[in-house]
Point group: C2
Chain length 249, copies 2
Amino acid sequence: MRGKLFVVGIGPGLIDDMTVRAIHAIERSEYVVGVDTYIAQIAPLLKDQIVIESTMGKEVQRAKKAVTLAEEGHTVSIISGGDPNVYGMGPLVFEFIEASSCDFDIEVIPGVTAVNAVGALLGAPLSSDYAVISLSDLLTPWSEIEKRLGNAAASGFVIALYNPRSRNRPSQFFRCIDILRNYRGDVPVGIVKNGFRLGQEIIITTLNSVMDYEAIIDMKTTVIIGNEESYIWKRRIVTPRGYHKKYEY
Amino acid sequence: MRGKLFVVGIGPGLIDDMTVRAIHAIERSEYVVGVDTYIAQIAPLLKDQIVIESTMGKEVQRAKKAVTLAEEGHTVSIISGGDPNVYGMGPLVFEFIEASSCDFDIEVIPGVTAVNAVGALLGAPLSSDYAVISLSDLLTPWSEIEKRLGNAAASGFVIALYNPRSRNRPSQFFRCIDILRNYRGDVPVGIVKNGFRLGQEIIITTLNSVMDYEAIIDMKTTVIIGNEESYIWKRRIVTPRGYHKKYEY
């Protein structure tokens, strides 16, 4: 039988925030491959599937294993938190597919990524053009990340920071905020930890005060920096879309 | 009874690509408010709900109506294509909520927005930091859009163009591509029209050739511009995540 490889975005955390397509792919797979924390999130969908889980950092092995199983004719889901393209398994899986026989079908299933999940929890911070930036320099040089932060901040993008702070690089978050302050006033900042997951925390603050919350910011946190038009309204952040300039209402 | 207002992202088009949470919100609503094309997309979910539909351009009236119904104690879903925050109804609805009694509950439900939907259809173009830019200058001055295009292109962002071309502003797409060419070589470009909808078209090209496809590009199209590391592989675009620099495999 011809194999099938689903590259599945499982969204922010709960089954409720997955798409129907993602749920069906996992349900019909013989094998489900993923990092242990994401496998735990989709546990209610697991029945007869064979689960291959490993820890964070074993991305290369997981991608290789999933491709090998599909080559052997199996139906396989390799899962990725949020959207599989956004700092997820998608690109790495394709690197292994290219090196394979390619004798199987591939389907990438999009999911709700953190910027949109967190945007919803904060209210409506994202209406304008936005930039998604990871502060992890494991795979991107820090100098490039700094350049992106500056360029995005200089041109009115709402900015979403993924992987904002880890134990191994505690000072980069401060450096990032410092760069953003060169370009922006005291704009609204939303901090969401464990968005749509157990232990959800939402903090609404501003660029001048965000460092007060540094200690709670970790790899499970997403930070959204408003632009000069964003404002705080009753524990929410709104970036107006501009209709108020156009219409009277 | 206390009203409830759901601001619902319905994803790219099919029910299959909606989240479970979005489906449930619409199913339990007394009123569903939306633009006619999106109401048609969720038709399979409509049973006893009262549907209030209007045409594109009537956003202000729809937002006002949905807020008024929630104030009156009803359960209301106002729907938005993709994610409700991304060039959607979210921010506008909040502007009306602020002016209301606020005596009802509000829940924003995120959805898969075009950049992620189209990213999945193209393969894995998005692994790196990315910027989402609308080319519509209805609510944002064109000079600002140009600045964002230049800044994003100068700093390695993968770029997603929403609303790339309309009949009323046919020349701006060319101007945009011209700006991007100042910063990037002949990088991969993916054009997706009606992604995950009837009439889906996928074109893989490059920055030097993209104007050959100008005629098919419209408001139902999303365009993704790769960065200098992106490459084309068998009708797909891949932006490597950088593991190849870090690991041997």
